[in-house]
């Protein structure tokens, strides 16, 4: 059993070159629950919600202006080129927030003294996945993880859920910002004017909360539950991004990028969800539903299964899932209690490292192992992970990235890793000795074959590339 390696890689993010030796891996992991810093230095100084919202609005206005100019100019003169250049500049402005946040995320992961907790940040951000495919979401992606996920991973699952659902990134990604109560004051007025189709309900967020964030697919909820939940959620929207009439509905003091509840968009009346009637006024209604969903036995089971899979493999052992689900129900979704149960359980420690590291995990563990920077200062971090097949905060669906071996273990993916390992090893050259590094980072997972292969490398750089491409290092 490779206990040291499992603690460092299955639970952590790979051993850092300067990490002291760990005598008691379980104690080392448990202590991280208390030592966890929700606001590490690496993410300080990133743009806030308001700056992000303004950058997006500027981009959108530039785009509109360009379209107008193009129409006026009837195509093709110098004015079109100038507008195009301005549009690109504005676009670069709001994309920059994404790129900077992705780089900061990597820096935080490489530097963290609490890698188990940092892995949990990544896990929960992926459980409550948003995807930076939509223009409106791109700039908010990093802020979402840093402000909705990080502060809550050592608390109750219900608080984490409420924070995730209320963040602008989630409201925009799953169309909540454009979902209006069919009988809300606003929709009724539009209908009475009879000028255009009345705005209505969008069920996207309600459905994904039930299917992906809480109960799990086919957990017994009905279409009526989804529709009623969607009605309860109406009124939640994001300030500073809408245009025209929608903008005038916002509270006067709302800052751009702020989540707001607009009563005139909210569907009036009680809603029945999973057999229970919710009659709370305004924003309280949806929050009560969320808090009930958060402690539902199906949610306990769903979260337990995902957590167990992340720390054991494709087919999580039933006893571990059962133990975590039981713990979840008993504590009302107390996350530190779940982590302690996970650490104390035999299953995550039972097997040899059999999970295939995701591109993110693999890259982070590589950079942690090296004292010298493995990447150039000008390296575009977001582009690098896109190339490796795991773009940061862009899984392409609200389901997030999955934790199956087959998702990451592909032949082209393997070649790309070898190429990146080669490139990094080329930068490092003889500033690191793979023969010294191997026993440190592979610890008890270092096989005689790998040690020998590394020692026979034809150059220090080749030895480092072989260490990072070794069967053990690719796994966790």
């Amino acid at each position: 059993m490779a206990v040291q390696y499992l603690a460092a890689n299955r639970f952590g993010l790979g051993r850092r070159f300067d990490d002291p030796a760990v005598d008691d891996p379980k104690d080392w992991l448990t202590r991280q629950i208390g030592d966890y810093d929700p606001a590490p230095a690496a993410i300080a100084g990133l743009a806030g919600r308001e700056a992000i919202a303004i950058a997006y609005a500027e981009y959108r206005d530039e785009r509109q202006a360009m379209r107008r100019d193009a129409t006026n100019a009837q195509m093709g003169d110098d004015g079109g080129d100038a507008a195009e250049a301005m549009r690109r500049m504005a676009r670069a402005g709001f994309r920059r927030h994404y790129g900077e946040a992705a780089s900061a995320r990597l820096a935080a992961a490489v530097a963290t003294p609490t890698p188990f907790a940092e892995r949990l940040v990544h896990f929960w951000a992926n459980h409550f996945a948003i995807s930076a495919d939509k223009q409106t979401v791109v700039g908010f992606a990093g802020n979402y993880e840093n402000e909705a996920i990080r502060p809550h991973i050592m608390g109750k699952f219900s608080d984490l859920l409420v924070a995730a659902v209320h963040h602008p990134a989630m409201l925009l990604f799953l169309d909540q910002a454009q979902s209006f109560g069919p009988d809300s004051v606003f929709a009724t007025r539009v209908r009475n004017r009879g000028k255009r189709q009345a705005p209505g309900l969008n069920e996207n967020l309600a459905r994904e909360i039930m299917e992906l964030h809480t109960l799990g697919v086919r957990a017994g909820y009905t279409q009526a539950d989804v529709t009623n939940f969607a009605k309860a959620l109406t009124g939640l929207t994001v300030a500073g991004l809408g245009r025209g009439a929608g903008q005038r509905l916002m509270p006067a003091n709302a800052r751009p990028g702020e989540t707001v509840f607009v009563d005139r968009l909210h569907q009036p009346g009680a809603q029945t969800i999973l057999g229970k009637s919710y009659g709370q006024p305004g924003a309280k209604q949806a929050e009560e539903v969320l808090r009930d969903l958060a402690v539902h036995p199906a949610t306990a089971r769903h979260v337990a299964t995902k957590l167990a899979r992340h720390f054991t493999g494709d087919e999580p052992p039933a006893p571990l899932v059962g133990r975590l689900a039981q713990d979840f129900e008993r504590t009302g979704g107390d996350l530190p209690s779940l982590y302690r149960t996970l650490i104390a359980s035999p299953e995550p420690w039972a097997a040899e490292p059999a999970m295939f590291k995701s591109p993110w995990d693999w890259t982070v563990s590589m950079l942690r192992a090296l004292k010298a920077p493995g990447l150039g200062e000008r390296q575009n971090i977001a582009a690098m992970f896109a190339q490796l097949g795991q773009p940061v905060w862009r899984p392409g669906s609200p389901k997030g990235y999955d934790d199956m071996v087959a998702t990451w273990a592909g032949s082209a993916a393997l070649m790309q890793r070898v190429e990146l390992a080669s490139r990094i090893a080329g930068r490092i050259g003889d500033r690191a000795d793979a023969r010294v590094l191997a026993p440190l980072v592979l610890a008890d997972a270092l096989t005689p074959e790998t040690a020998q292969a590394i020692s026979r490398a034809d150059s220090p750089g080749q030895g480092i590339a072989m260490l990072f491409a070794s069967p053990a290092f690719l796994r966790r």
């Binding site: 295939f356 592909g410 082209a412 393997l414 070649m415 190429e419 080669s422 080749q462 590339a465 072989m466």
Partner: protein
């Protein structure tokens, strides 16, 4: 093709940083001589490249593969050039191409790696030498003609020796070097997950480096790149170009046609790119061994023995000729009953062409390039 100083991978202290220099045609009197060695990794089928259509046993042995020769240029009474090699055929007509047939190195087994090691190293047995015949040739050349470069991520064995050699790997095709790939292949050999993944990854990468891809344009790009590295006043004078994808065990007809089209375009782009310098250039195209006379069950051919080598350039000793001490394709005439029998050593063909090209003493060239022969 834009080359930057950064993308030149230095393996030694002196290398031609081609892209960093002004690019003008070097056309002054006393043009230095240039040599290009194009290696065909994977055992190219000489019997399809220069098809012995006049051999009575050819059509029966090659069955469907024999038909493709129909559209090719007749070189003489016995041989027909593959129809994909149109520009090469024009060179032949202009006495700027020569084909040496039924040639092989001293190697008589059928492993690609051992065979390539012999072809490049020029030793008497696999892994007998750790330097290569081109590397040893450099010691015979005047300083002005000695700058050598390989279009490869690392210096190939053929170019290794006492003279420093540069390599250039196009940065749009980042590739792990062949040696690392070989070591990882060994490392993953017993890993049930990684072994098949890696196997497929390596095969895909080999396909991606095929010159036949993109309707031959990959070959043209490679030829253009090679010429641009050799054109500047202090550019490379000796060049090695790697081509892969010749191991046609199945579906040979289409694959080989594409490969040869790529090779043809590579040669054409070299000639065009070198301009007047082409007249002082020798191009040698050779492979580690040939392929079976008979077609196998999957429309391909398996590892054989003798094959064809090509010599191209402005001042060949015997341009416009196919040279062969033809052994015949009848079963009894074959090597071990299956392969084209080698009747001449590839080493002597290469040494002879090089000696003529550089006007060096043939004996001295032979003992330097192939000291173990």
């Amino acid at each position: 093709m834009i080359l930057s100083r950064r993308s030149i991978i230095l393996s030694g202290i002196t290398v031609a940083a081609a892209g960093a220099l002004p690019r003008f045609a070097y056309a002054a009197a006393g043009t230095p001589k240039r040599l290009v060695f194009v290696i065909q990794r994977g055992a190219a089928d000489g019997l399809a490249t220069v098809a012995p259509t006049g051999d009575p046993a050819f059509a029966a042995a090659r069955r469907a593969l024999a038909d493709e020769s129909a559209g090719g240029v007749k070189l003489d009474a016995l041989f027909t050039l593959h129809p994909s090699l149109a520009q090469t055929a024009s060179l032949y007509t202009g006495k700027q191409a020569h084909f040496a047939h039924a040639v092989a190195t001293a190697y008589r087994d059928r492993s690609h790696f051992d065979g390539q090691n012999m072809l490049e190293g020029g030793g008497a047995r696999p892994y007998g030498r750790d330097d290569g015949w081109v590397g040893r040739l450099l010691t015979l050349l005047p300083a002005a003609e000695r700058d050598a470069i390989a279009i490869a991520p690392a210096v190939p064995l053929a170019l290794r020796g006492s003279v420093q050699v540069g390599t250039y790997a196009p940065s749009r095709l980042p590739q792990a070097d062949a040696d690392l790939i070989a070591r990882l292949t060994a490392m993953y050999a017993n890993d049930p997950l990684l072994h098949p993944l890696w196997d497929s990854a390596v095969r895909t990468q080999e396909l991606a480096s095929d010159i036949g891809g993109n309707n031959g344009r990959n070959g043209a790009d490679l030829g253009k790149l090679a010429a641009s590295l050799m054109m500047p006043a202090d550019g490379a004078r000796v060049m090695m170009v790697e081509t892969g994808g010749w191991d046609t065990h199945s579906g040979q007809r289409g694959r080989l046609a594409a490969q040869l089209r790529g090779l043809d375009q590579l040669i054409g782009a070299l000639q065009t790119g070198l301009g007047p310098a082409w007249n002082e250039t020798l191009v040698i195209v050779a492979t580690e061994f040939g392929r079976t006379v008979e077609v196998n069950g999957t429309g391909g051919t398996d590892h054989g023995t003798a094959s064809t080598a090509m010599l191209l350039g402005g001042r060949l000793a015997a341009g416009g000729k196919v040279s062969a001490d033809w052994p015949g394709l009848a079963t009894a005439a074959r090597y071990e009953g299956r392969d084209l029998k080698p009747t001449r050593s590839l080493e002597s063909v290469i040494a002879g062409a090089v000696a003529h090209h550089y006007a060096l003493d043939p004996k001295r060239v032979m003992t330097t390039l192939y000291p173990d022969a």
